[in-house]
Amino acid sequence: MSIKEIIKQFEPEQHNLLHILHALQDANPANYITGEALEETARHLGITKSSVYGVARYYTMFSLEPRGKYIIRVCASPVCELLRANEIIALLEEELKVKTGETTADGMFTLELSECLGQCQEAPSMMINDKVYNSLDRGRIREVLKSYRG
């Protein structure tokens, strides 16, 4: 579907803004919302550009830059941090050869941090796209990454 076709699925009501932004990002293989998509969204909803941009930049789930096919979000909230999330992050950076916020050269993974994922009972945790992974350690991370790399 083209950007316009995706947007036209939604009624031109302002409360559809978040739904539209999700749909646009999900439909983009590079996992982000393009400038053209923001422009068309503002036009469709009859609102100003900044109203769209402000919302898109407010939520960390949205990106305005190209990202990997898979977004890894490591929980950086207190409980995970107590259980050495910082080591998990370092490990991921090492494995993926990127810094937090960057995308791997092959365009497979983007490494990000997240607020609490609500998995404190099995911390430390991370999400890859919509899937949650708990009780992380070196072995578990390698295993998970392997399953994605195929």
Binding site: T48, K49, S50, Y53, G54, Y58
Partner: protein, 907 residues
């Protein structure tokens, strides 16, 4: 509203129940510190500086978020509160770049000094703003934003949204890293139209004006002069900042009608023309086809001698004058006096004839007054606004802010009738898009709906309309044939939409009609407005606050010039030139024999040109008008002007008209003049001199008076503009109670019959101003336009204005800020026509009508126009669209049909 008593720091204060506590304190000079609060905006409660203690409530509360109630006991200042404020300021300061360049009023900085935080030893937080990497945005042509100076008070965002109704600004990111954005983080590519409301509201200098930023230093002596905007007829009150003899800034004056601090991009950034090097600075006399500098004596003597000779040779009817909607009442009054007394005829007119003459004519005949019946601020509380042929967001941007407020904040319904899309459509409930020239049919269709559904106000018709129900029956009979189907067939407007619009208007509590050039500039201009008035009278929607008919005037003083009698048909105060008793009265004021005053109507604007062409008019005096760009059928106008034996043009710049002059006289711009303008809601407003005029240029009235004196008929002994005004007040009963001393703080709306009268906000509350006090219905039938699309000229061309340019753009195009926004002519073509005629977007085309042709016009393919119709702005001299328009006049008002010319496009 219940009056209550509260105490603040033991001081007893009377207030209205529910009022904002911080505002109540401010109104009583209790200076509770604050940054995010502004009385024009909804409270934000972000800065927390306005904290107070209220007896019975826990802790400290933000006073901007408190509604006062009876007996409330408030502590505004104690040690703890002051310590908390200091802490808050200190905290804000740590994220703040405190460099100050002296170009703006910095409220934050004042508080820093007040709390001693300018001394770094008094601070407890380190400065961290540099590490936060705040961005700056310099992409706008008129303003710059620096996030490091921003305290996120949101005044800018709220001002743009709540005051201006634009909502262009938002913020991005979160927490300490959040900052203000326009568009996709690029102000210059956003929808921002440069009104600068955000700049005026910013308390920290995070948003600043670009123009003159290098030179302004407010700590180095800035003179501030209050005056009235020289552009459209809203009459915005300005505070001009003068430094080194030059206007360097223009702010809106807060708390004063009509604008309450608001401005548009022209009012805020359109003043640079005043000090432009192109200004005329010395009289010029044409010798052997070239202009040579001359002394005032030389020039004035020549003018007086030539006008005298022409009068002698061809008789007193052979001279004529164009007065000016740009200059003051005082200038125009003396100009009118010169034509009547010295030329000896009534051949004086001005651009109103090309503007709202038809509206005024219809209103005078039906209601007895030709001016807007309500106040501009009434739009804010209206529940229905019928906007006909009026692109008000672009032509009257500040009036439009009130209209948008009503629609956005309390759901008032805007009904737009316009063949072309306008930005107000975004806020409209209904947009009716009739074919050009079909308005009479559309309105008769709406009236029929009102008749059939019995939405009339019988009592109003019986009491306030001439011949009551009998007149109504005649209207009813006439509209009978305008069935929804028939109306749709003529206008192209879907019947249901038309019906719904009629119902909303008829049922509304406070409906206002705002009618513009789209209705007036037609051969049927007067008929269009008769129809509006018919609909208004049978529904009783006039004669009370918030209900009536209002033509927003296009130029700063177009209202006043008619008011003071620069008209071929009326003396000051709209009294007919044929009224002998009034002539005697005026002759007495002027100290002349009444027989010297011509009792026969003079020629109107376009008639003057036609008479020049035919040889009836031989000499002409044009003050501040540019007919060679703004008159219809320019090729004909050019021939007429060339036939004149003697032409004097008085202006501030060379224009498209000055090359045809024999003598050019340099006059003053608004910021160099003293006097008054009258705005669209009949408000007499002061204009004050802020800077000296360049070179030898003189104020218009002084030049006029000198010419009269040298022609042997001095106009009077005037030491100051107020002397002229006092004479105006003696000749025009509508101004009788107004004098300069009453205009110091705010304007006064006419009629103001005596010194004790407060002025009149709403017209026609008890009676109409007709001889019998009754309104008059004028049933009129739809007639097909004489100019229609044909095989040879298959398209209909509409003309109009845009936000960033003004009239013939003599002034507006000499401001970089405005030309940075828009400086290119274009023609709007519907996509259907573009493909039909094989024309691409941005292609250059030639446009040809029966009268002439213009070429090299850039095409803008757009759905803003209907198929078969085109639109072009008339501002640009390189695209003089009036070479295409007609001078076939509306028989009642003599207005020309700028809105409808059959044309063809050639690639």
């Amino acid at each position: 509203m219940k009056q209550i008593t509260i105490t603040i720091d033991n001081q007893k204060i009377n207030a209205t129940e529910g009022a904002n506590l911080l505002q109540v304190a401010k109104d009583h000079d209790i200076a509770i510190p604050h940054l995010c609060y502004h009385k024009k905006l909804s409270p934000t409660g972000a800065c927390r500086l306005c904290i107070v203690k209220i007896e019975g409530q826990r802790g400290m509360v933000a006073s901007c978020a408190v509604h006062v109630s009876d007996g409330m006991k408030v502590t505004a200042f104690d040690e703890e509160l002051e310590e908390a404020r200091k802490y808050l300021l200190d905290y804000l300061l740590s994220e703040h770049n405190e460099e100050y360049d002296g170009t703006y009023h910095d409220e934050f900085r004042e508080l820093i000094y007040k709390y001693g935080l300018n001394n770094k030893e008094n601070r407890r937080f380190p400065s961290i703003w540099k590490e936060l990497g705040y961005p700056a945005d310099e992409t706008s042509p008129v303003l710059a934003y620096d996030a490091a100076k921003c305290i996120r008070c949101f005044r800018c965002i709220k001002g743009c949204d709540e005051v201006q109704g634009k909502n262009v600004l938002s913020f991005t990111n979160r927490g300490i890293l959040s900052y203000i954005i326009g568009g996709f983080d690029k102000w210059g590519e956003s929808e921002c139209d440069g009104c600068g409301e955000c700049i005026q509201l910013c308390p920290t200098g995070a948003i600043v004006e670009k123009p003159h930023r290098e030179s302004i230093n407010i700590e180095n002596g800035i003179k501030k002069v209050r005056s009235t905007c020289p552009y459209c007829g809203v009459g915005c009150q300005l505070e001009l900042w003068v430094q080194d003899g030059k206007v360097v800034r223009s702010n809106g004056v807060e708390g004063v009608s009509p604008n309450d601090g608001r401005l548009c991009v022209k009012g805020r950034f359109g003043y640079d023309y005043v000090s432009h090097p192109d200004r005329l600075t010395t009289p010029l006399i044409k010798k052997d086809g070239k202009f040579a500098e001359a002394s005032w004596d030389e020039a004035l003597d020549l003018v007086a001698r030539k006008f005298g000779e022409i009068k002698e040779k061809y008789g007193r009817k052979s001279l004529a004058g164009y007065a000016s909607a740009k200059t003051t009442n005082e200038d125009n009054y003396l100009f009118m006096k010169l034509v009547r007394l010295v030329f000896g005829n009534n051949n004086v007119d001005y651009c109103t004839r090309l503007c709202h003459a038809s509206t005024v004519t219809a209103m005078l005949r039906s209601l007895g007054d030709g001016a807007g019946s309500n106040s501009i601020e009434d739009y804010e509380t209206s529940d229905c606004m019928l906007v006909t042929g009026n692109n008000m967001i672009e032509t009257h941007p500040v009036t439009a802010t009130f209209v948008k407020y009503a629609a956005q904040r309390h759901d008032a319904k805007i009904i737009i009738i316009d063949p072309k899309w306008t930005p107000l459509v975004k806020d409209a409930h209904i947009w009716l898009q009739p074919r050009l020239g079909s308005d009479v049919a559309l309105l008769n269709g709406m009236i029929r709906v009102i008749v059939k559904e019995d939405l009339i106000d019988r009592e109003f018709i019986e009491k306030r309309v001439e011949d009551g129900m009998e007149a109504y029956e005649a209207l009813k009979a006439l509209v009978e044939k305008y069935t929804p189907e028939y109306t749709e067939e003529i206008t192209g407007v879907p019947a249901e939409l038309m019906q719904e619009a009629a119902r909303i208007y008829a049922k509304a509590e406070r409906p206002l009609i705002a009618t513009g050039m789209g209705y007036s500039q037609q051969v049927t201009g007067t008929h269009n407005v008769f129809c509006l008035i018919n609909m208004m009278l049978i529904t009783g929607q006039i004669g009370r606050e918030g209900a009536g008919l209002n033509p927003p005037r296009g130029q700063n003083n177009v209202q006043g010039v008619s008011d003071v009698g620069a008209s071929p048909f009326t003396y000051p105060g709209y009294i007919s030139v044929e009224d002998e008793e009034n002539r005697r009265k005026v002759a007495k004021v002027w100290g002349v024999d009444p027989d010297e005053l011509d009792g026969e109507k003079g020629l109107s604007t376009v008639e003057i040109m036609q008479a020049a062409y035919d040889g009836g008019i031989r000499g002409m005096y044009i003050m501040g008008e540019n007919p060679m760009l703004t008159d219809p059928n320019l090729n004909h106008t050019e021939e007429a002007i060339k036939k004149l034996e003697f032409l004097v043009v008085q202006d501030i710049f060379h224009t498209e008209t000055t090359p045809y002059a024999d003598v050019i006289l340099p006059a003053t711009a608004f910021a160099e003049s003293e006097g008054t303008y009258v705005n669209s809601d009949r408000r007499v407003l002061r204009v004050r001199k802020a800077v000296d005029p360049p070179g030898e240029s003189r104020q218009d009235w002084e030049i006029v008076a000198e010419i009269a004196r040298r022609m042997g008929k001095p106009l009077g002994n005037y030491r100051h503009e107020s002397d002229i005004w006092d004479e105006i007040a003696k000749t025009a009963p509508i101004f009788a109670g107004i004098s300069y001393d009453r205009l110091e703080q705010h304007g006064i709306q006419w009629p103001c019959p005596d010194k004790g009268h407060p002025g009149t906000a709403t017209l026609f509350e008890e009676r109409f101003n007709t001889p019998n006090g009754l309104g008059k219905l004028h049933p009129v039938d739809y007639a097909e336009q004489s100019e229609r699309a044909s095989e040879e000229y298959p398209l209909i061309l509409n003309t109009g204005r845009i936000l960033y340019q003004y009239h013939s753009s003599t002034m507006s195009r000499r401001n970089k800020a405005l030309t940075d926004f828009a400086n290119d002519a274009y023609v709007l073509v519907h996509p259907t026509d573009a493909s039909k005629f094989g024309i691409a977007d941005r292609q250059k085309v030639k446009i040809i009508s029966r009268r002439g042709e213009i070429e090299n016009i850039s095409v803008n393919v757009s759905e803003e126009v209907l198929p078969g119709e085109l639109f072009m702005p008339f501002h640009y001299s390189e695209a003089p669209v009036n070479r295409l328009t007609r001078d076939e006049l509306d028989p009642y008002s003599k207005i020309a049909p700028f809105k409808l010319s059959a044309v063809r496009i050639e690639a």
